[in-house]
Symmetry: D2
Subunit: 279 residues, 4 copies
Amino acid sequence: MIEVGPNRYGKSAIRLVKVDRDGGAHRVRDLTIDISLAGDFAASYAEGNNAGVIATDTMKNTAYALAGEHLTGAIERFGLALGRHFLGERQVERATVSIREHAWLPIGAAPDAFTRDGSSTRTARVSVGRPDAEIRAGIADLAVMKTAHSAFAGFPRDRFTTLQETDDRLMATKVTADWQYEPADGLDFDACFGAVRATFLDVFAEHHSESVQASIWIIGKAILEQHPEVAEVSMSLPNLHHWTVDLSPFGIENDREVYVATAEPHGLIEATIRRSDLG
Amino acid sequence: MIEVGPNRYGKSAIRLVKVDRDGGAHRVRDLTIDISLAGDFAASYAEGNNAGVIATDTMKNTAYALAGEHLTGAIERFGLALGRHFLGERQVERATVSIREHAWLPIGAAPDAFTRDGSSTRTARVSVGRPDAEIRAGIADLAVMKTAHSAFAGFPRDRFTTLQETDDRLMATKVTADWQYEPADGLDFDACFGAVRATFLDVFAEHHSESVQASIWIIGKAILEQHPEVAEVSMSLPNLHHWTVDLSPFGIENDREVYVATAEPHGLIEATIRRSDLG
Amino acid sequence: MIEVGPNRYGKSAIRLVKVDRDGGAHRVRDLTIDISLAGDFAASYAEGNNAGVIATDTMKNTAYALAGEHLTGAIERFGLALGRHFLGERQVERATVSIREHAWLPIGAAPDAFTRDGSSTRTARVSVGRPDAEIRAGIADLAVMKTAHSAFAGFPRDRFTTLQETDDRLMATKVTADWQYEPADGLDFDACFGAVRATFLDVFAEHHSESVQASIWIIGKAILEQHPEVAEVSMSLPNLHHWTVDLSPFGIENDREVYVATAEPHGLIEATIRRSDLG
Amino acid sequence: MIEVGPNRYGKSAIRLVKVDRDGGAHRVRDLTIDISLAGDFAASYAEGNNAGVIATDTMKNTAYALAGEHLTGAIERFGLALGRHFLGERQVERATVSIREHAWLPIGAAPDAFTRDGSSTRTARVSVGRPDAEIRAGIADLAVMKTAHSAFAGFPRDRFTTLQETDDRLMATKVTADWQYEPADGLDFDACFGAVRATFLDVFAEHHSESVQASIWIIGKAILEQHPEVAEVSMSLPNLHHWTVDLSPFGIENDREVYVATAEPHGLIEATIRRSDLG
């Protein structure tokens, strides 16, 4: 016998810009939205019956239609409004709304001119069912580097090991991190995001790293300790290797000064740090 | 209390090309390899202790070192050899090797000149533990289109629905699909891959589609019926919308002839079709 | 005094798909079109006067509107029709239409199902003025490799030279090439394209290369010798380095078998080969 | 007769990071460098003679080798040093060095931790011959938006025109601009870059736009008027259309509030504004 297993569907890459013109200065919201639904959709697969299939085009329309009323604060709130809207249909058991927010900063004191801050992307992932809602906030595309206080030594050596131990390497990564709020009721999501982001950057800057793994632990632990609303934090950190260039053939000393930056291959370290009572 | 939750680490985007020069004509193998390990690595996080951390640089070296002896047939075999190598270390509980193979085709009868076939990518994902091994094969980057026999109608209409029903739309997608072999012992992975790929294309070409969901079911069911070695197949199909251009303002009729191809937003339908005794 | 210097404007990335349903089997044309105009547009800059500015939105509409009647054969013909349309406006002195065609191949014998051939892109660049028209055809995204008959030796050595000479390296590139037809009147552009492409591949496969430069010469010369309608051919060839992996630390011999494929940095060789009476 | 026409060759995408550790706080320089040479290289094409062909691998080595001594200030200075080095070889008639600098900003007061500022890229293009040197500086990847004071009206209407006139549209673009310094002797390139960038942003924010063309003129004219060291400025501005979403089917008013951001197709306006005595 053959059956439909896990499945979901939706609309991805909905590009929505909203301009709030109410105050003296405009405010730009620039979002990329993915919506996906799971539930009682087996008939759409096995019988070609679309009676329950909310069109993905309708999902897109809904995002634009609800933005005026519901995109007035944090993206988490807009995600909740969108998710709950789709839960209004009986066949939907879980609606997941993922939002990436691209920041625009005013140019000087101008009320209506902006530059896009490409330094990082704020993310939210709201997954609503009956009755639960899981809210994750995060950050992506954040490139960071430590030019000191990063080591990698004491690792095992086998016949294929050539890497030298080092107590002073250049460490660079492009952060993708997100964390779950629990309980999420009544949180000021903008303030929480700013605070967690600040903790991330502060600890990244100050800590001594024995490895990317150790950095994840130190940063994650600090986030959990300083932010009781965070139940767990997950990070996916590529290790973007910078190799010291060997200039000795040219009679030039190179003491941690000139590096070649590489993209392929790269290390990739992924872990969740959590409160153990969540086990 | 704070603890390390799920975690893994490894090397990604290892680019390996192997040239087999033994026969009269050369053969080019062009792989992108991701290796990741999970197991007893908590100390590397919480204590900064690298005694068990196989360096990702060593993983890269290992891939190149083992290619001569073990990359002689299907990428699934090479993935198994790599995964089992890393399981030789006690702290490793699971080694996952994901490989994408980029095909090169001979130019005419030349023994030593090739063009890259950019039409699709063959994938494999081998995950080995003690004692089990899960082997998935797949295809990616395969763009396909149906210019007839694709409909979408009968879907619910709410206040945000504007999409018209259609019994003849253009359907286009970029296929990412993979499937699990079970049992995998003794399979000719190259033959299996070719056969499943052929079934996919044949059924895609011949079936009548009531929706992308229905297409996934019809294609997936055929794969399971025709290939007993396949236990389940998963597909992730973006619906790359092609909209009929309204040329009526210009006095030009456009009966399913001229379309605008779009990338954003796009539908996204993801499902697994499986034998129900897998429950 | 300040003035407007060279300038042009237009619409880029117009995505157009046309389905010809007339015969027994459908035919899919999939184009990405860039249109740009140059001429008497200084007032639109210096005076903010849009009286002569054909809206780029109108250009887009025009491409879709003319496709039914004019996209019936080679993309060069469609480019000519589009370019000449815009020359109908007095202020336009030169209209340039660049088209990339993405090939779709039938799946088996199906009349209405296709796979996209991602192996290369056909290009055309039609630039029409009064009265001249320049027609260039080309190919892009064509990855090719030679696993023998490629050398690089005899180059100068200075204090910064470490590269070893080799008489047997792996040579790989991603071809961007285009060529000018002159005279272009009455040419069968589809046949010409196919013939020049075949010459490119044949000579690439058969020749012995002393360098990428030498390859450009040998291939370009063959194209000019075998195709009298081609006045000149330009190539832009990245040298996508594949380095032999040093496996000697592991006691493994590696005689031109295992390579690391790299993308950054890469050589880049660009040249035009032409009939000298064009000088 | 067949001959080699215009040609050049070099190394692209050289990724170089330099860390200056001399002061109390580190400074990170992160560059992507392209080097190309033109000159007496016909023999490398037509005769396969590499006697004059400086290997592109040597170019890469040279960039790393000279960075310690010559990458101490503006990228224009480093480009000049690199270019002049290659002019030391007789067969080189022109050396062009293009550099993109990726900015890293300190995290708080940390001396050795940084975030990458992805908001824009500084560029330089230094082209040196005998005896002249042309120095262009620029900016890329700078996304800017005006939410007011942008119009587009008064354009001609033909049978294919459907765009409505507007006196209040949202204008967004991703700036690529560069400008030539003349004379360049003795300039403080870092100060000049900062000043021209500030003028660009200030005028962008303050001006009223009748079209992208008019914006280019107004901004370019201001740059030339305020910066006598700039001889000409070129801009390539995509018009990244944001369309007001029609929410009237849902009974929702949308007065310049909710937009769909689009990437394909886009307008593209390119022009040079210059001092007319350069004619």
